[in-house]
């Protein structure tokens, strides 16, 4: 990276011959875009979201020989493929929203043999589901499993892609949220599913009050906002002095920090965009109630154009969350390892109910022209591997919720035995109008999409 950082304000000030220019766009202009995928000519812009739940699905025969020997039924995969499939027990909570899904997928990425452990289901599965790439090898030589991504997760790839936002970048490129605070390691990488790149993670906002402040607490004093914007120019000058003295790795870290400052500066300029205040949220330790609290705020923010990309982590990878509300005495990770199938089934059903609540709220949130957020939305619902008992990689769950402005066919089940997870990513990117000849890395590359699901 040899980019010299100039803030947008600095550049435009230069362009305007030194005169101060105000860049804040009027709210209406900021919201109206030029995209448009609906056949009827309305020009709504698509929204992309990730919904993540921990520990995959209850195991069944298709997960492998050992799992088959355990003799439990498949409660996930619909019997029929194509449109109009009959929802299974675990898909039933999502049935009202006619989600599409693909079954049979698994990671196709390489597994370097040194250091050992890189095939571990939790780490490989969730990295591939989120980044289309294997996890970084660094860190596997240590018990802390200092797990890091090699590249951005799909939400960040989209949020920073020119073909997604173009020139209409909203106040937040993306919003990153989480619900359960239980963590497998007390270490951020295990408690975040949104990455910008190696060792650069977006830790989720997990407190509804914090999310509320982030989205809706906008200062009334716009003159002071302008001074804050100017001040950032000077902070960046300081930083530019420093960057020349740093080694390569730290220069990259500082450059990212600088790019964020640029983004914050732009955000301050857009802070005049006021949304209706939905009121301060309550709080709850119940995962479904907390999902509702956060999804309500998210929906209100999305409706008034604060962002079009989000990541929503219900539970973190390998979660130790104790679902005592379901009568489960141990953390979920241990419950999976102990092979307590019925409890894993109950927890998974509960996680699907939480997913459904998020989708309900997106469906109920409708703009003045009658288009719901869910109509505009594509939510990738996924987990970290096929199942958690033996960390089986086969049958990785992958749900497509929402219509993406008509780009996703509803209620379709596609099945590809042993198929590549990246085909789901290619499908999503193409549905969002991002030109994607192929996607996937280190063995995961593919140019294929899911032809039954992509409209």
């Amino acid at each position: 990276m040899s980019r010299k950082f100039l803030s947008r304000r600095t550049m435009l000030r230069g362009a305007a011959g030194g005169a101060m220019v105000s860049l804040a766009l009027p709210p209406l202009e900021a919201m109206l875009g030029t995209h448009g995928a609906w056949a009827d000519g309305t020009d709504d812009q698509p929204i992309f979201g990730v919904f993540f739940w921990a520990n995959g699905l209850p195991w069944h025969a298709a997960h492998g020989a050992d799992q088959a020997a355990a003799g439990h039924p498949d409660l996930w995969t619909p019997a029929q493929t194509g449109p109009g499939y009959t929802p299974t027990e675990l898909l039933l909570p999502l049935a009202a929203h006619e989600v599409s899904l693909v079954t049979g997928l698994q990671p196709h990425t390489d597994i370097p043999s040194v250091p050992g452990g890189q095939g571990d289901g939790h780490m490989r599965g969730f990295m591939v589901a989120l980044t289309s790439d294997r996890p970084r090898s660094e860190g596997f030589d240590h018990p802390s499993h200092t797990l890091t991504a090699r590249r951005p997760s799909l939400d960040q790839y989209i949020a920073k892609h020119d073909e997604f936002y173009g020139n209409d970048v909203p106040r937040f490129r993306s919003l990153v949220m989480g619900v359960s605070e239980a963590r497998f390691h007390d270490y951020g990488h295990w408690n975040a599913i949104s990455y910008n790149g190696p060792d650069s993670l977006n830790q989720p906002v997990q407190d509804p009050a914090q999310l509320y402040n982030l989205l809706f607490d906008v200062p009334a004093d716009t003159a002071s906002l302008e001074r804050r914007v100017s001040l950032l120019d000077t902070v960046m000058e300081d930083a530019n002095d420093l960057r020349a003295r740093l080694g390569a790795a730290d220069r990259i870290r500082l450059d990212e920090h600088l790019a964020h400052m640029d983004e914050i500066q732009r955000r301050l300029e857009l802070s005049v965009t006021a949304c209706d205040d939905p009121g301060a949220p309550g709080s709850s330790e119940d995962l479904i109630v907390k999902t509702e609290l956060m999804a309500d705020l998210l929906a209100r923010g999305l409706l008034c154009g604060l962002s079009r990309v989000f990541s929503f982590m219900l539970t973190s990878p390998a979660t130790t969350h104790v679902f005592s509300n379901l009568g489960v005495p141990d953390g979920m990770h241990k419950t999976c390892h102990d092979g307590v199938w019925q409890r894993v089934r109950d927890i998974t059903e509960y996680q699907m109910q939480a997913f459904a609540r998020l989708l309900d709220i997106m469906q109920e949130t409708v703009d003045p022209t009658g288009v719901s957020l869910l109509d505009r939305m594509l939510v990738m619902g996924t987990s970290e591997y096929g199942e958690g008992w033996i960390h089986g990689a086969a049958e990785h769950p992958m749900v497509f919720a929402g219509r993406a402005c008509g780009a996703i066919n509803p209620g379709v089940h596609e099945r590809i035995d042993g198929g590549n997870i990246s085909t789901a990513h290619v499908t999503m990117l193409r549905a969002l109008g991002i030109d994607t000849p192929s996607y996937g890395f280190n063995g995961g590359e593919t140019s294929e999409h899911l032809s039954g699901i992509l409209a």
């Binding site: 050992d66 050992g116 452990g117 095939g119 571990d120 860190g139 596997f140 240590h142 018990p143 802390s144 200092t146 490129r173 990153v176 963590r183 007390d186 270490y187 951020g188 990488h189 910008n196 650069s200 993670l201 977006n202 830790q203 906002v205 914090q210 982030l214 003159a223 001074r227 804050r228 100017s230 001040l231 000077t234 902070v235 000058e237 300081d238 930083a239 002095d241 420093l242 740093l246 080694g247 390569a248 790795a249 730290d250 870290r253 500082l254 990212e256 920090h257 964020h260 400052m261 983004e263 914050i264 955000r267 301050l268 005592s324 005495p329 141990d330 241990k334 390892h337 092979g339 033996i390």
Partner: protein, 569 residues
């Protein structure tokens, strides 16, 4: 560098231990050499593998590593801001710290700040500066004079003082001019607003947010780099007090006092006597012992009637008091913490341990001597270790043994193989106890290497349940066998392990390694092996007293010098 100039030190002791070093079933050495770690249970041929023993007969060479750029941890940010703006500031939201390799300081030097974290710095700087400058008395107390015009002498004097504290060194002329310009250009509606914004700006500057310690050519040998005196002030201060240097340290840096080991020692001693040192050292031990894992602990009170939501915090406090006893009150061999009958209990811990503790209450801890012939002896037989290394409904000899290997002895346990079948046959009719179930690992060659390394010390704690209560039988009524072993030495139970660890050279070496990682904010490099060997040597010769190790570290060449940055990424 003058008085401690790269003198070679001979260390035949390490060569001996290296010869005792091990074959490896599971243990994977990280980046050290001359390493005396024991190997798997199966070993015993004493064969040395790898590149151990290189220090045999060779002088030690202190090769430093390149600088890192740690971002302030959230505690360091809060402490530093309090130092700059005064006490009584409101809490601000900041990016959560991460602790790869156990330490926040390591996370601080490896992770990249997120966009939300950047926004939080901006908002915190704005909010905190408003809080001070919206209060006429408070701003006057901070600035020390009333500006009569934007950017006047009063303002300039303040900028120089405040800037030196915020940047932990004097501002350059360019920086002075930069902030001076802010105080003039943004003085709307008055001069105070310009000063406020300069303060808010400096609090967002990378020179405040990061610890910029890039070194200068060493006057004794310009090919080499040493930390500047101001950088040494920072390094000392963040290690000893977990905050930015105070005026005395910055003055000492300006006067050249911190260019010498004597000067560093003098200030380190001053700082160690301050209560802030105790807080900072407790923070180190809390991270080293991984005590934050107690935070989310819950137990079903039907199965564990002793459990109360306050209990995990009481367990943390007990460890804190023990650390304080060993480090500050008695200044004793720190390894002794693993083999002692002394501890500190409040009411609920006294009940958990079944001891009389006159004077103990829910909040008052009192020192107690646990019975010599009782089941407890040392830190690993107390609530914190036993609870955080157990599951909700049953113990985990594997987690407990892993902690002994990784945390106490600094050995590394390899992750399970990718194709490991982690399922233990819960239905096997003969396997009625957890021990019998785990012993199935022994029969599977894919598992036996690691589990033979981890489980034998882990079994020693089986007579403590998931909450650390003593027990003699499993819930189903089967007798507990708490025998096990450590590196081939058979032990009846955990009371026999404590005294062994309290006298084990590996435990001391582990403390050195962990402190070094915490202090440097990174893993040690292979080239630094001799620095660690030397520190351990000194630690041992001074009776493994932790404060003496700190003094050795801050005056050590390995802490005062650095290598040139790596180019190309």
């Amino acid at each position: 560098m003058n008085e401690q100039a790269r003198r070679p030190r001979w260390s035949p002791k390490w060569a001996l231990i290296a010869l005792m070093g091990a074959t490896v079933g599971c243990y994977g050495g990280h980046s050290e050499r001359g390493d005396g770690n024991g190997g798997g249970e199966e070993s015993g041929d004493g064969a040395s593998t790898g590149d151990t023993g290189e220090t045999d007969g060779d002088p030690l060479v202190f090769d430093p590593a390149a600088a890192v750029l740690p971002r302030l941890t959230s505690t360091q940010y809060r402490n530093s801001v309090t130092q700059l703006l005064g006490p009584g500031l409101p809490a601000v939201m900041l990016e959560p710290d991460t602790n790869p390799y156990l330490f926040f300081n390591v996370g601080a030097s490896t992770t990249t700040l997120s966009e939300l974290g950047t926004q939080q710095y901006e908002e915190a700087a704005d909010a905190l500066s408003h809080l001070v400058f919206d209060d006429a008395e408070r701003r006057l107390a901070l600035v020390g004079c009333e500006p009569s015009a934007p950017g006047d002498q009063c303002v300039q004097g303040f900028l120089a003082d405040f800037g030196r504290q915020a940047y932990r060194r004097p501002l350059t002329a360019d920086e002075m001019a930069r902030w001076q310009a802010i105080t003039v250009e943004l003085a709307d509606p008055d001069a105070w607003e310009g000063v406020r914004l300069a303060v808010a700006g400096m609090l967002q500057s990378p020179y405040f947010i990061y610890r910029v310690e890039l070194g200068e050519p060493d006057p004794d040998d310009p090919e080499l780099l040493r930390y500047t005196a101001f950088e040494m002030a920072s390094r000392l201060s963040f290690l000893m007090w977990n905050t930015s240097p105070d005026d005395m340290l910055l003055d000492a840096a300006a006067d050249g006092v911190l260019d010498t080991a004597d000067g560093l020692r003098e200030h380190a001693e001053r700082m160690l006597a301050d209560p802030r040192a105790s807080v900072a050292i407790q923070e180190f031990f809390a991270q080293y012992f991984d005590l934050s894992r107690l935070d989310g602990v819950t137990r079903d009170v039907d199965a564990y009637p002793m459990f109360a939501p306050s209990l995990p915090q009481s367990m943390r406090n007990e460890v804190k008091l023990l650390v304080d006893d060993f480090v500050f009150r008695r200044d004793a061999d720190i390894r002794g913490i693993y083999g002692t009958h002394s501890t500190f209990v409040n009411e609920e811990l006294a009940m958990l341990y079944g001891v009389d503790a006159p004077g103990a209450s829910p909040i008052a801890f009192v020192p107690v001597e646990l019975p010599e012939d009782g089941p407890r002896n040392g830190l690993l037989t107390l609530g914190a270790f036993l609870t955080m290394n157990a599951h909700e409904t049953e113990t985990s000899p594997t987690l407990r043994g892993k902690y002994v290997r990784e945390r106490v002895l600094c050995q590394e346990v390899q992750p399970p193989p990718d194709d490991a079948d982690t399922e233990l046959d819960t239905d096997a009719s003969e396997a009625v106890t957890l021990r019998e179930r785990l012993e199935q690992h022994r029969d599977d060659p894919a598992c036996s290497g690691c589990h033979g390394f981890i489980d034998p010390p882990g079994f020693l704690f089986e007579n403590f349940d998931s909450l650390g209560s003593h027990r003699t039988e499993y819930p189903g009524g089967h007798d507990i066998d708490a025998s096990g072993s450590l590196d081939g030495v058979a032990l009846a139970n955990a009371t026999e392990l404590g005294p062994l660890l309290a006298d084990d050279a590996r435990v001391g070496k582990c403390v050195v390694t962990q402190l070094y990682r915490h202090a440097q904010g990174r893993l040690e490099t292979e080239d630094e092996a001799d620095i660690l060997t030397d520190l351990d040597d000194r630690f041992e010769s001074e009776g493994y007293r932790f404060k003496s190790l700190l003094m050795q570290l801050v005056t050590h060449e390995g802490f005062r010098t650095l290598a040139r940055p790596q180019e190309g990424a």
